[in-house]
Amino acid sequence: MGSGTKTVRFYALSTCPVCKKVKLYLDGHAVSYAYVEVDRLEGGEQWLASQEVRKHNPAGSYPTVVIEEVITGHDEEGLKRALGLA
């Protein structure tokens, strides 16, 4: 995975229309993402996924989209862009 690559994880509920709106938005912009419908997971898997959501979003609300960017090496431009530094 090279510098500047973004990974997107999308935690949704299958019952939630707002999640569908966000999915349409991402799909409309041809964004690739890992999609997890937390309510459709079974027992332990669901618990783990909901803990992942809470790690990033303590309210544990849905949809939660986690966008992570990898910056490698001494890439000040990349760090500036990713962190919104002046």
């Binding site: 509920l13 019952t15 939630c16 229309p17 707002v18 309210a59 544990g60």
Partner: protein, 109 residues
Amino acid sequence: MTPERLYEVLTRYAASVGNELNQDKPYVLDLLRGLLTNEERYGYRSCPCRLGSGIKERDKDIVCPCVYKDLDVKEYGSCYCSLYVSREWNEGSLPHRMVPERRPTGAHD
């Protein structure tokens, strides 16, 4: 129960408590499908916009209409899911902003 039938019932319920249903009917029908899915799944109509636990005692605050509905409609003109709204919200005289989760963190852990 079909989503359409539930729509009729909840329209009357909303009016009886001084609320309205969101006028975006396709959106509301989608919410009601989620509500009926949760009823089938858990045996009670757990909020379709929140992750239910399957344990009624733990989810009693998020059985629709949730216990946060009145406070959210009062403060934001809309419940968390934008199912129940005020007339002002439907008329557009109130901004349609995202309603923050009022449920205490960890309530269903």
